[in-house]
């Protein structure tokens, strides 16, 4: 199947999917985010929501204000003229306590990969990850950039409940759980950070395009961070550029 991109698909009567590619590609992701930014900066009448994903931008619209076929033409023009500039990149260090009850797969994963636990931690925490998209659950970040040796298939049977703030690996992706729920990913530890807190002024810590690195911390340091976060003194470890 040879496909020509970009393609704009109808998704029913109130959404269009602007598809730039059908694989995972950082340059494509940059373009998706740039198109969303372009539409946020210069809004098109009738466009209600923009949902960037790995390879496409979902554009929700109100057909009483703009019809899909006309919106698709506008989006093509925007895409043709789109300049992907050097956007300001937000960087986050995410402290992680490796192992423990929320890192139940750490030892097994190290054994599977023929690594020591400390080698595995070194690999996981030395890479820089990119937030490709937020989706699936509130604030859930899909992170690309996992070292290839750590790519691991999901469990055949998902576990019924994984806590928020668990640090996971699924296929080629890494993640930080944002809400408790079932998951078939493998888990290495936990972070004191909260990716999603509806009571916070900024409920979502990360957005598509952000960069993340993991920083190993001791249980003691994590408890100090837990208290600071519970008291609302910090929400994340942003690194200024």
């Amino acid at each position: 199947m040879v496909k020509m991109f970009p393609r704009i698909h109808a998704c029913g009567d109130s959404a269009l999917s602007v598809e730039l590619c059908d694989t995972i590609d950082e340059a494509v992701s940059e373009r998706v985010i740039a198109l969303a930014q372009n539409l946020a900066d210069a809004p098109v009448n009738g466009v209600e929501e923009l949902v960037p994903t790995y390879r496409s931008l979902m554009v929700f619209y109100d057909p009483e204000t703009v019809r899909g076929h006309s919106l698709a033409m506008t989006l093509r023009l925007r895409l043709d003229a789109l300049v992907v500039g050097a956007n300001h990149v937000r960087r986050f260090h995410v402290p992680v306590v490796y192992g423990g009850t929320m890192g139940m797969d750490l030892q097994e994963l190290a054994d599977m990969k023929d690594l020591t636990v400390s080698q595995l931690i070194e690999l996981h925490s030395s890479a820089e990850y990119r937030v490709f998209m937020i989706g699936f659950a509130p604030g859930f970040a899909y992170l690309g950039g996992l070292p290839e040796i750590l790519h691991t298939p999901r469990l055949a049977t998902p576990r019924q409940r994984i806590e928020a703030s668990a640090i996971g690996i699924g296929g080629k992706q890494a993640s930080i759980n944002s809400v408790p729920g079932p998951s078939g990913w493998r888990f290495l530890g936990r972070t004191p950070l909260r990716l999603f807190d509806p009571a916070r002024a900024e409920p979502f810590l990360l957005k598509a395009g952000d960069r993340v690195t993991f920083r190993p911390v001791s249980e003691d340091e994590a408890e100090t961070l837990d208290r600071a976060i519970a008291a609302g003194r910090m929400t994340g470890e942003a690194v200024p550029q």
Partner: protein, 323 residues
Amino acid sequence: MSFIDIRQIGPMTTVQDLGRKGLQHAGVSGSGPMDAPSFRIANALVGNDPMCAGLEFAGVGGSFTVSRPVRFAVTGGDVDIRLDGIRAHPWESYDLLSGVTLTIGALRECVWGYLAISGGIDVAPVLGSRSTHLRSGLGGHHGRRLQAGDRLPIGDAVSSINLALGQPWRRSGRPIRVVCGPQDDYFAEDVRQTFLEMAFIVSPTRDRMAQVLDGPPIRAVGGHDIVSDGTCPGSIQVPSSNKLFVLMAERQTAGGYPKIATVASVDLPRLAQVATGRTVRFARISQWQAEELLIAERQALRSVLANLVAKPASNDRPGEISQ
């Protein structure tokens, strides 16, 4: 503060308003009612602002009392309603006095019912909405289904009279209309034909997130795994089980299965209301036609809401209450 007390409750009752807007990019599902027009009519019948929250129940209602007199209306479909044992009717509003028990029985030939109370259910909004999102435990009453013994705050009501529909709110009995795509090219031509020609059975696997349809296998030649992209209400996902998953109000915002088609917005509440075990068929329409249908339905709903009529003060219909 005034309250509604839940004495008995069906297994699937939640607080809902019109849902969350503008946060899908952050993974937050819209949630909101499964049958939004029925929900809007219930609110209008008790004089509420459209943004007020009410209760959505699946299958069977429950019994309720209130701590101050309110108006209430039940919509969604035909259902047995009693006020201390005296019969009342859906699709019109009544007074519910404190000390009187409102009992809502089982819905007939539909799935989702709505109870609106004048003043609305006044739980705290979360991310701009009072809607419950069960999967992430957000909003509503502690993010969960209601249980017997729950006590929910109700807001201040504007003074209003009891109302009924001045014109009928009808839904077509035609096939469920769909716009093909966005991944219909993952399916061979004969499979796409099967999808549009054969009947599918509404399976018991249904919740606010998705409705599963059993039927002929719908196999994707392009494979059943795609790089995750956005979903919308009515997306018909086809995982490798070959069954159809129609994404509903509480859907996840992104997914990794190919989507053969999207249910037209006008027909999504109708699909939600098809009883388990019944069959549905799909009919293909264009995006333009689906938009036309949605615009026409919104106009029809606005007309219904603008033409509610006052109920006579003394009610002489047999079996009805008079207060």
